[in-house]
Symmetry: C2
Subunit: 245 residues, 2 copies
């Protein structure tokens, strides 16, 4: 397969429910669009969710990193370009570039994925699927791999009980809901005056329906760090938001 076929592009129209009170695409809608593109791209190469579920397997995202130069607005049309950077024993890295209708590169993103056996809930050894290796480009194209985020000590800022609307077709909290809960620890007035230049998240445990999630935040002028813990004080995820100064 030649390199051109290994990069796939998808078009996305920004609907009114995808923008927040600023009129710009919300971080959660941007993250969903990126993760959906990963799903669509895998589907087209025949290793998407539909294929995996038949084998008792599922993709899980373990790290996501989004770097934002400019955000699109309501009714804007964006192009999302995606390719697999590398394919290892447990993890594969998929990168993204997002362009606006003027063909300006406005966002970059990188995601780290594992395959989980649905019965054992253990990671699947990707070397059992050597035929997927051919889709890895070994190219980062200027997109950094998603980082690991260290434990933080901060202030308990809010709590969130996992609700019906948080749960997706996998019966778990939707990946971007964690980011929604973090941003909900701010008021619209605060967020109208701040814009996100970098968002990093590590997914560690799944938050299940009815759990009470504690949101701990630590802030300085240009960065906010988050730790979300469940009833048993396990970290469900950690995240870092870098604000534009």
């Amino acid at each position: 397969m030649n390199k051109d076929e290994l990069t796939q592009t998808f078009i996305h129209h920004i609907g009114p429910q995808e923008v927040d009170c600023s009129g710009y695409m919300s971080l959660t809608a941007l993250g969903s669009a990126i993760l959906n593109t990963a799903g669509d791209a895998a589907e087209k190469h025949n290793f998407g969710m539909n294929f995996l579920l038949k084998e008792g397997l599922t993709w899980v995202v373990s790290r996501l990193s989004i770097s934002i130069d400019k955000l699109p607005k309501m009714y804007d049309v964006i192009k999302i370009e995606t390719w697999i950077k590398n394919y290892g024993r447990v993890f594969t890295i998929r990168n993204f570039k997002i362009y606006n209708s003027k063909r300006e590169e406005i966002c970059k993103a990188s995601s780290q994925w594992a395959v989980i056996d649905l019965k054992t809930r253990r990671p699947f050894d990707l070397r059992n699927k050597p035929e997927w290796q051919q889709y890895a480009t070994e190219e980062s194209r200027g997109v950094e791999d998603p980082i690991g985020i260290s434990a933080i000590s901060g202030e308990l800022i809010s709590e969130h009980r996992v609700r019906f609307s948080d749960i997706d077709f996998n019966q778990h909290t939707n990946s971007m809901k964690y980011a929604e809960w973090m941003l909900d620890s701010y008021s619209p007035d605060t967020l109208k005056n701040r814009s996100i230049t970098q968002f990093d998240i590590n997914y560690m445990h799944e938050a299940l329906y009815g759990q009470n999630i504690k949101i701990v935040r630590s802030e300085n002028e240009n960065q906010s760090l988050f730790n979300l813990t469940d009833n048993d004080n396990f970290s469900v995820c950690r995240a870092a938001i870098r604000w534009r100064l």
Copy 2:
């Protein structure tokens, strides 16, 4: 303008974040798709939000009614057909039919809209825009007008504080968030065993950021009635869900 041009159609792909734990399109995603279609259809006939905002006006939906035969699933493609039924002094009624990829009619909907003056917050007399009258078909095509819902007495079932993620580009709670809060008064297990055949909602006051909304519910076997009230005990909306027996 001939009748054919007065009916507009839009295609919608159901993304993974638009389905709930049942794997079927969520009521809130379906409602958003319907309301977005209203916006897109108005935009194409030059009386959409972009036009109105320039004149210091905005569309507001006052009633919405959705009748569901079958729900689409993740990755299904649906066609939404929309036309204006009538155009009065204060209100205009817009109807919808939704088809799946087998061309089966799976949902019907009707919505009632008013135009509000952004300065005075008072309804705008639609007779001041007689040129919009030509878009009304005077046809219901088997779709019932949305009903008014009477006051109910029920049980205080939950409360919701209006959060950053509830607020849209209009600086108000997004129309479908009220339905999300109502459904969040149930568990996924309950809703997996029930399906909605009819949803009616009346919007009465806007819920603003930080308000604590009380959710009162009254249920019998086949119907649930809701009343959502704000800090001042005003109804922000009332709704009725009819369950498939």
